[in-house]
Structures are given as structure tokens and as C-alpha cells.
């Protein structure tokens, strides 16, 4: 299994000597739980049966004067564990954002970009600021995960994170690989519409609003979207994601197992689709 969506905000080693990170995690990201060592993070992946996980930073320099984990810290985690696949984050409000991204990918081996318009507070359709970043992603052939929907961070502004806002981005960058997390909840219909039309749109399963992951996935994927639609039309575009540490990955695995998917579809969502979008090789068509 590859977990496409984890935030390493509670890993104690990253906070040592980084009071700015501790403040950012509490005040901007809104997490108030005790820190845990990296070994616990890896043990939680083990318990969930997850082989590798994507670690996501968020660069909020312009909006909040902080980075919720830096690209360098993600690179540090990758050195500590080969199971961690690092993404970069850049601030579209900074003129050198595209160059920062190119450097993070080349120097640190980061394999994708994380953007959160609701927390970074930028317009995804901003041609002057955001489009050069998308252009860099296309040049580097890396995916970009763009947060859509409910954001539990206290400073998050969901109005900036409606999936439909990505339509003009998709039209301008037809080769850009975009990952929409959380199925864009509550705008699931917008997310599904974009994914149906654009095969370069991927969606992840980290649907968290109320109830257990088993309950929220059942309501959205089974009752709202329909497993038949996913199997017929989105089978190569859905990725397993947990949004750790908002919830433990084991609970998403338990819920995912309860969906009762065809084994072939299950395998694609658990691993193959992620390998393809991350360019890791070994995926299937």
C-alpha cells in the first residue's frame, strides 16, 4: 500500500530546535496533540500495512509567515527512512517559487508538489503567481496535490479550495497531473466531474468530516459516488490516502477493506495508481 497523503507535523525529530514549526503546527495547522518519534510514525504505517507514505509540507510564508514543515525537513525524513516519499511545497506568492520547486526536486529528490490554496490563501487560477508553478510541475513531470474542500486548519478558507476552480488550470495545462484530496468533500460532485473529464486528475480517499473513515468512505464512495462509477470510469485515478495525523492510517485501511471492492480495483487504489502518478515504475495500465 502507498499512502499518498500524510503530514509529518507531529514527528518529534522535526521539532527539535524548530520552535517556528511547533508554533505553525499549533496556530496555523491546528494540531495540539503530543509529538511522537519517527519510529511511531513508521510503526503506525506497519500496523496499517502501508509500505510507503508521501510526506507533505505546506509553505505558508506569504499568508502566515511560516512553513508547516520545510522541504529540507522532508528531505531529512527521506534520509531517515526509505519508506517516505517526499513532496515539496512552495509559496506561489513568492516570485522565485518555480525555481524553489525545481531546486527541491533536483537537489532533494522530492517527487511532487503540495499546494493548499485555502491555507496558503492564493487563487488557483492566478495566472501571474500560480501558473508559473504549474508550468514548473509540467516541466519536471511531477504531480501536484492541490487541497480541495473542507480544511480542518483554523486558518483555512474553503472558498479558495473549490474543485471547480481548477477547471481553468486543467484547460491551460492539459498534461499537469493534479491530485484532488478528500474527494473534494463537500464538493464531491465537482471533483468527480473533473476527474471524469480529465484523466490527469486523481483523487484520494482521505474523506474526513464526521464519523469514522469507514463511515465517511461508505457514505461518499458507495452512497454518493457509487462504486460502479469508480470501477467503470475512475479505476485508474483513485489513490489511497489517509490525511495522517488528522486520523490514524489504520482506520482508513480498515474502512477501505469494508468497501468490498473487486480485488483488481482494490490493488489499483492501494498501490498501482500511486506508482503511476508518482512515476515510480512497476505500475500497470
Amino acid at each position: 500500500v502507498i499512502d499518498i497523503h500524510t503530514h509529518p507535523v507531529g514527528i518529534a525529530e522535526l521539532h527539535e530546535g524548530s520552535p517556528d514549526l511547533t508554533r505553525a503546527v499549533r496556530e496555523v495547522y491546528g494540531r495540539h496533540m503530543p509529538l511522537q518519534p519517527l519510529t511511531t510514525y513508521l510503526a503506525q504505517l506497519d500496523e496499517a500495512g502501508i509500505d510507503e507514505a508521501v510526506a507533505l509540507p505546506i509553505d505558508c510564508t506569504t499568508a502566515h509567515g511560516c512553513k508547516i514543515v520545510t522541504n529540507e525537513q522532508v528531505a531529512q525524513l527521506m534520509e531517515l527512512s526509505a519508506r517516505i516519499i517526499g513532496f515539496a511545497s512552495v509559496d506561489p506568492g513568492e516570485p522565485d517559487a518555480p525555481e524553489t520547486l525545481r531546486r527541491a526536486v533536483r537537489e532533494y529528490g522530492l517527487r511532487g508538489l503540495k499546494l493548499d490554496p485555502s491555507l496558503q490563501q492564493f487563487a488557483v487560477g492566478d495566472r501571474e503567481r500560480a501558473f508559473p508553478v504549474y508550468e514548473a510541475c509540467t516541466d519536471l513531470d511531477i504531480p501536484v496535490m492541490i487541497h480541495c474542500g473542507l480544511n480542518w486548519a483554523p486558518r483555512g478558507m474553503a472558498a479558495l479550495a473549490r474543485p471547480i476552480l481548477l477547471e481553468e488550470v486543467l484547460q491551460a495545462f492539459p498534461d499537469l497531473k493534479i491530485i484532488i484530496p478528500h474527494f473534494g468533500w463537500p464538493w464531491v460532485d465537482e471533483t468527480v466531474m473533473l476527474a471524469l473529464k480529465h484523466p490527469n486528475v486523481h483523487v484520494d480517499t482521505s474523506i474526513l468530516y464526521s464519523g469514522t473513515p469507514a463511515e465517511s468512505m461508505m457514505r461518499v464512495l458507495v452512497d454518493l459516488v457509487g462504486i460502479d462509477l469508480i470501477d467503470r470510469s475512475l479505476g485508474s485515478q483513485v489513490l489511497f490516502g489517509s490525511d495522517y495525523p488528522r486520523v490514524e492510517p489504520k482506520r482508513f485501511v480498515w474502512g477501505f477493506d469494508e468497501l468490498g471492492l473487486r480485488p483488481q480495483l482494490e490493488e489499483k487504489i492501494r498501490r498501482t495508481n500511486a506508482m503511476n502518478v508518482l512515476g515510480l515504475g512497476g505500475g500497470e495500465r
Binding site: 491546528g30 510503526a43 506497519d46 500496523e47 474526513l208 464519523g211 486520523v247 482506520r251
Partner: protein, 143 residues
């Protein structure tokens, strides 16, 4: 009277797990230098337990299995929502309920500097929502 509080760190590796901490508690009691008194063993968490039972793997499996049957995962518990004070989903009602059933503290008399403990009594720190880094507290009181 002396009162000595010692924290014991426990790294758990599974969702549910029984970890034998008997020797660690014994060491704390001996180091305390109390000849006559009492020792309390508490967990600092609400999704773990402290219990005493026979130190056998099959008994451990039966205890965890029994707790799972008593408190199944697929029940619409009310404690299943986002908790702003944590910044996380609080969807672990099963862990809280299993912990409530098991208890969070045990105690032993201390006589001649040793715990008065039955031959088959093993002290367990019981993880019910792991893996996590956890803490138990050993409180020795006496003279």
C-alpha cells in the same frame, strides 16, 4: 513517609497489545528504597489499560479477543467526530470503552522492600489504540 513518582516510557507496536512491565515496576520499587508501603501503577492515557493476569500468550490473546467482542468496531458510537482541541478526528470510542472495562490502575503492598505479588501475577500495560509512545506512572509510598 516517602513518596516517589517515576514515569516509565512504553513504545507500543500494534493497535492492541499487552506489554509485560513487571520487571520495570520491580526495579522502580527496589530503587525507591522503601521497606514497607504500597506501590500504585497508573497509565497516563485514556485509551490504554493497566491490568494483572497470568503471563501467558494465550491468556493475552483471549483478553484482547474478549475486549474486541465486547466492544466491536462496527457500532455507531457517539464519540466519532472532529475534536478541535486535538486537531484530529476523535474516532476511537472502542479504545476508550475497552480501557474503561479493563481499568487504569493496579496496586501492590510493599514488604521488606519487595512487591507482594502472586507467583502468576504479571503486570501488563495494555495498548488499546496503538502504536504510540506511551507513559505509565509508578508511585511508591512508604517508609
Amino acid at each position: 513517609m516517602r513518596s516517589i513518582v517515576t514515569r516509565i516510557g512504553v513504545d507500543t507496536h500494534h493497535d492492541a497489545e499487552m506489554i509485560d512491565i513487571t520487571h520495570r515496576v520491580q526495579d522502580v520499587v527496589r530503587d525507591a528504597g522503601v521497606s514497607s508501603g504500597v506501590v500504585y501503577i497508573n497509565t497516563l492515557h485514556t485509551t490504554t489499560g493497566i491490568t494483572i493476569n497470568e503471563g501467558l500468550p494465550d491468556v493475552e490473546d483471549d483478553i484482547l479477543g474478549f475486549l474486541s467482542r465486547l466492544v466491536p468496531r462496527d457500532h455507531p458510537y457517539r464519540h466519532s467526530r472532529f475534536l478541535p482541541s486535538d486537531g484530529e478526528m476523535a474516532v476511537n470510542a472502542t479504545s476508550h470503552l475497552r480501557s474503561a472495562l479493563l481499568g487504569m490502575q493496579v496496586s501492590f503492598p510493599i514488604e521488606n522492600g519487595e512487591m507482594v505479588r502472586g507467583q502468576r501475577q504479571t503486570i501488563y500495560f495494555v495498548e488499546l489504540d496503538g502504536p504510540l509512545h506511551r507513559e505509565a506512572v509508578v508511585h511508591v509510598m512508604g517508609e
